[in-house]
Symmetry: C2
């Protein structure tokens, strides 16, 4: 029986054209982040099943590709449930493995540690257009830094990277703080245990608007008064640092002074230091799904693209799950696949660095002549740095040259059996 | 309960220092291969279980990390054996996925297609020093080219890459042909069905010597005469192209004229064209384990390192397993992890391209002062291309600077609360 040609469901073969864009993006991103002192690291793609199922991954935990135990450890007869058969799984993000990595290696790492991780992650999501089960994430994180210089540097570096890889595209960074979300909900009269449910509704703001949020809050069973109070405050808040500054007073102290000051400082410092142009706004409706965030959260939207192209925040309590004592941590992740989509859709082409020359030789040219051609190709590579492709001439030479021209070959040389005909 | 800090058994966290070497190597390798017209591609890390178990992977098939079916497809009660529970697994090499990729995408690819693939593979091998269950392979392959220009270009490109990444290290390329192995065995009188067993013994030559091979052949039950005849021929063969040229006559035509001519041409052309210095020899004892090879095979050994650092060969019948019609194919793989070991052991350091400056600021320096420092860092990055790390001064500043110097920071600037003290 013939083997299966298609990739496994939801995963894809990457063709040379897309690979070029991917490699170019990665090198610009690496360069940019290295400029800010971030160090590349790598964690295994396979992670302990216990860590993957530890409630640090929200809904992603339902989407794990689980890896079966091997040898004697696999007890088919004795297994009562799925997890008895698995000892590991493919990572669904880069944050949990990073927390493990830091816990395991902190003695060998500088403090604070500025990490850059670019790698594949896997989620057994329902396949759909533009969404794959294996995709690349690109994260920077600062571990061991409690001060807001972490947030400031993450925003400066990420926006710098975005403006280099998407030149001419306008984008906006929206910031908020989990403690502001909680403070505003307290002030509006939501009970502590109801806050998560309220935030899930708030998170739909971009889809259903402020009226929709109010309606859903009431529908869910929250009091008329709380829903009104909450949405009224949301409606009258501004989006600049001054709006953040006013929050403690507006909420009768439910949003703490230090929380407000912290976010103001981040916004004002980023505003003063940035070398690239982008919008920076306070967005009191920004929630971000993951349960592990403890403070500042941020997200980037780009013109012409719905949804976010980057996001992150502070998660000061994840590393403690490994070590027993909390370590401050903050990260920002670029949605690598979304950037690829944006660039591909806009006809982006990678700037070629080297000249590309194709040597086309006649079929059955003979070993002696071929040797001369290959020698000439080696010389050209060594002397001029040209990329040189040596290829047999096709019957349809015109079409072959057009194809090669599309791949960036700008110069052609033809070789025939008789040197004179060259 | 605390989460698990160590990586899963046999896999490793890669620290910044090693990552630097890895990224440097990959970029030199990519550059070199691009110079020969190879195009980067990527296949998913996850492959169909049917493909992985299709006998294209030799012993590696016993070492597959299998991925469990999900949802309704996972039938715990009905599963009679392991493979009823798995629908996919992690790839154990890059060759099988490449053959699938080519079969799936050949309509969109040039012919012949020159592919470069750098990626992780996984094998559930018994963990041991220097051997990991996730490791990187780095393969170039030429698909759709039946002529020996494929072998010639693969050897030229791979040796060029090796001489760039291991400058000053001497290495030797050994070549052979599966059809020569078969022809010599025929001539010595081994029955066709016994050839694989004889080759397994021959493959031990580097460990047990020619005497050991003779003894094992007899011990296995081969006739005294065949064992003598075979080892006598091995003993008198030279290692240059002329030795290959004599084979058809020496073996009474058991090694075909065209097979001998083909390998001679490869050796003589590579000799004439190579721009880097390395040994190139015919090695009639070179076998290479994988069953899929059909013609030329090659391997590279490097001084000071036992075992091979690169290997490959022609496998003209794998793609046909997917498409139903054979496509010529030939590949060469660099043992990426071995090169890393060789370089790390010899104290290799990556050449730094950009100047690295560290800005150290006093604790509690205040938001206003910190803003000035960050602005200055952005200016320096933009103007001079310096890499600039902004970090809080540690109590033990001397040690902090020593650590940073080891990371390549050559310039330090210190910032204090009072600008005057700078």
């Amino acid at each position: 029986m013939a083997l299966i040609k298609k990739p496994v469901t939801g995963m894809k073969d990457i063709l040379p054209e897309e690979m070029k864009i991917r490699e170019y993006l990665m090198s610009v991103i690496r360069d940019t982040y290295a400029g800010y002192g971030f160090s590349s690291i790598e964690t295994p793609c396979v992670e302990h099943i216990e860590n993957l199922l530890s409630k640090q991954g929200g809904d992603n935990e339902k989407l794990i590709f689980k890896i079966m135990k091997r040898g004697d450890k696999l007890d088919l007869g004795g297994a009562k449930e799925e997890n008895d058969l698995a000892d590991s799984g493919l990572r669904y993000d880069l944050t949990l493995p990073l927390a493990r990595y830091y816990s395991n290696n902190s003695a060998s790492l500088p403090s604070p540690f500025k990490a850059l991780q670019i790698g594949s992650v896997w989620r057994a999501d329902r396949p759909q257009k533009g969404r794959f089960r294996q995709f690349t994430q690109c994260d920077i994180d600062i571990l061991g830094e409690a001060g807001n210089i972490a947030e400031i540097e993450l925003i400066l570096a990420t926006t710098q990277a975005l403006s280099r890889i998407c030149p001419g595209k306008r984008f906006e960074v929206r910031v908020n703080d989990r403690r502001i979300l909680k403070g505003m909900a307290d002030w509006a009269g939501f009970a502590e245990e109801d806050v998560p449910a309220a935030l899930i509704i708030l998170d739909k703001m971009d889809k259903i608007g402020i009226g929709g949020v109010k309606a859903e809050l009431k529908e869910y069973g929250f009091s008329e008064e709380s829903a009104e109070k909450y949405t009224a405050l949301l409606g009258e808040l501004g989006s600049d640092a001054a709006a953040v500054e006013r929050l403690p007073e507006q909420t009768g102290g439910c949003v703490a002074q230090e929380v407000s000051e912290n976010l103001c400082e981040i916004m004002r410092t980023v505003d003063a230091c940035r070398s690239s142009g982008f919008g920076l706004v306070f967005d009191p409706t920004l929630v971000r799904g993951m349960g592990y965030y403890t403070g500042t959260i941020f997200e980037v939207s780009m013109e012409g693209f719905s949804g976010s192209v980057a996001g992150g925040g502070r998660y000061d309590r994840m590393i403690g799950k490994f070590t027993g004592s909390d370590t401050p941590a903050c990260g920002f992740s670029i949605g690598f696949e979304r950037i690829i989509t944006i660039l591909s859709d806009s006809g982006f082409r990678v700037p070629e660095e080297a000249e590309k020359t194709a040597f086309l030789y006649e079929k059955n040219i003979g070993a002696e002549r071929l040797k001369e051609i290959l020698e000439e190709a080696e010389r050209l590579r060594a002397q001029s740095g040209h990329k040189v492709l040596v290829a047999k001439m096709n019957k349809n030479k015109k079409f072959q040259k057009e194809q090669l021209a599309a791949e960036g070959y700008g110069e052609f040389r033809e070789f025939y059996r008789e040197a004179l005909k060259q």
